[in-house]
């Protein structure tokens, strides 16, 4: 059983995907908090409290990749899992270049996401 106390922050401006991922994380026993933008997340106490961040890449406002850079610059070591529905290899290359903990494509494989979350939260 994974740690029941780990908090997953989910950053995606697509409400239905965010809600789905929150439910998925909770079904695995995590706590989950959703944010509609990187800015909202950065302005919350989840920056400090989250054990793992799952972020979409392309959002109105700050992108997931920029969010990762910002967290790196702040010295954060919280694991970041990037997800995207984009199909262009250019985007994938950019995503991998910022060294996320995991990089997954939408629709993601549940088993892969489960493993990424487990590794990120040290379970």
């Amino acid at each position: 059983m994974v740690s029941a106390t780990s908090l997953i922050a989910i950053v995606d401006d697509d409400t239905s995907f965010r809600t789905a991922l929150e439910s998925f994380a909770r079904s695995l026993g995590y706590r989950a908090r959703g944010f509609a933008s990187a800015e909202d997340f950065l302005g919350s106490d989840a920056v400090r409290d989250a054990d793992c961040i799952v972020s979409d890449i392309h959002m109105s406002g700050m992108s997931g990749i920029d969010l990762k850079h910002r967290l790196d610059a702040q010295g954060s070591t919280t694991a970041v899992i990037l997800v995207t529905g984009h199909t262009e290899p250019g985007t994938w290359k950019q995503a991998r270049a910022c060294h996320p903990h995991c990089f997954l494509l939408k629709p993601f494989d549940p088993q892969q996401m489960t493993e990424c979350l487990a590794a990120a939260t040290g379970a």
């Binding site: 789905a20 439910s23 998925f24 079904s27 199909t87 939408k106 629709p107 993601f108 549940p110």
Partner: protein, 415 residues
């Protein structure tokens, strides 16, 4: 006519000349006895039922058909037998009713209204019917000279427009095919966007399904969670289906059909189509839509195609620039509806302006250069205009002007 001749001889010669002329004409000519119709109109007027013949005819097409039945064919020329008949002139010499398809009843009514109203003649394009039932496009002309009107006889001319209409239809088909090809090319440019748009709800559906399985697999299944999840799955499936429907409509090669279109809705559809493109480029979308705009007659998908094309051009022109703003505006201007697409990009180079709407002119690496040429041909078919200018504040502005649909004209025809 010489004064030396006696009046009977002159009349006979005049009649002879008329008969020769009547027969020699290249067009189909008909001599009609309209007298019984005059009687019907007189009685209708006296009954007080019809203050306005035009309105009465529109409400009582059966009365118009009765007028046709009462209009006797006195004589027709050889051209008429060739065009309308089967070689036997006699079978044409009945009433005019068989030659008017129901869809053309209003044209006959309009010719009567014109004659009664004192017009010297009436001429229009319509569809007429041969004695064997086949219909064909025709130019229908009727003259109302005073002397023949008093006698109750009338001369009408018919020119077969089949060839011209066939040529126009071939041209329209070709234009529709070009527009379709451009739409498919446009969809190709948007393929990545469309894939992403579909992946969003699919991703949510997959995540929800996985979550649902976990909730069910618990020692005590959490049915409240599962219930909420299945509801969301249904919504996302609808959302994905909506995207597919929009794409399919754009990909459709169906013949364009002019219907009454609320312009603001088409603008909103186009914006929805490009929602992802707009969001991803960080562009601010401004919709300035005038309320209570009259409708225009257009093929909805083609009009949407034009707007998507212009908006996509604008987005690409603004790529990499600070604070890009795309403005889609509608306004009414008398009997016109004006649509504008504005950006705050670099504007259009002066030497590009004159050839902007030419085929195969493109400044884009992946563009075919057909977008604007097709846009112009689509708008021209709607009797509208499209023009490009640079805004004084910077950026480009494309302006489309479309005529407002006037009630009373057919609202559902092929373009």
């Amino acid at each position: 006519m010489s004064l030396a001749e006696n009046p009977e001889e002159a009349l006979r010669k005049s009649e002879h000349r008329y008969r020769n002329l009547f027969q020699a004409m290249a067009a189909s000519f008909w001599e009609l006895d309209f007298f019984p119709v005059g009687d019907m109109l007189y009685r209708l007027k006296k009954s007080g039922l019809a203050g306005d013949f035009g309105a009465y005819f529109a409400e009582h097409p059966e009365f118009v058909r009765d007028m046709m039945r009462a209009t006797r064919v006195i004589d027709v020329n050889d051209q008429t037998v060739a065009l309308f008949g089967r070689g036997d002139k006699q079978e044409l010499l009945s009433s005019v009713e068989p030659f008017w398809p129901e869809s053309s009843t209003h044209v006959f009514a309009a010719s009567v209204v014109a004659g009664v109203g004192g017009a010297p003649n009436f001429s229009t394009e319509t569809v007429l019917r041969r004695i064997d039932g086949r219909e064909f496009p025709a130019l229908f002309t009727v003259c109302f000279p005073e002397d023949t009107m008093n006698k109750g006889t009338q001369l009408i001319g018919v020119i077969d427009l089949s060839d011209r209409v066939a040529a126009q239809e071939a041209l329209a088909r070709m234009q529709a095919e070009m527009a379709h090809a451009a739409r498919v090319s446009l969809l190709g440019e948007l393929a990545a966007t469309i894939a992403h748009e579909v992946n969003q709800p699919l991703g949510a559906i997959a995540a929800n399904a996985a979550a649902g399985q976990r909730w069910l697999a618990r020692d005590v299944p959490d049915l409240d969670e599962v219930r909420a999840i299945t509801g969301r799955i249904a919504e996302d499936a609808q959302r994905a289906a909506g995207i597919i429907a929009r794409v399919r409509a754009m990909a459709s090669g169906a013949a364009p059909e002019a219907v009454l279109v609320p312009v603001n809705e088409v603008v909103e559809d186009a914006a929805t189509f490009l929602r992802h493109e707009i969001r991803q480029s960080g562009t601010r979308l401004k919709l300035a839509l005038a309320p209570d705009l009259p409708t225009v007659r257009a093929d909805r998908i083609q009009l949407q195609q034009v707007l998507v094309n212009l908006a996509l051009n604008a987005l690409q022109a603004m790529a990499g620039r600070e604070a890009p703003v795309l403005t889609l505006r509608t306004s009414g201007d008398g009997d016109k509806v004006v649509l504008t697409v504005e950006d705050n990009g670099p504007g259009i180079a002066a030497d590009h302006l004159p050839k902007l709407f030419e085929s195969f002119f493109t400044t884009r690496a992946n563009g075919m250069g057909l977008g604007l040429a097709i846009a112009r041909s689509i708008i021209a078919q709607l009797d509208g205009t499209i023009a490009a200018t640079n805004r004084t504040s910077g950026g480009a502005r494309f302006t489309i002007v479309l005529p407002v649909h006037v009630s009373g004209t057919p609202d559902h025809t092929k373009v």
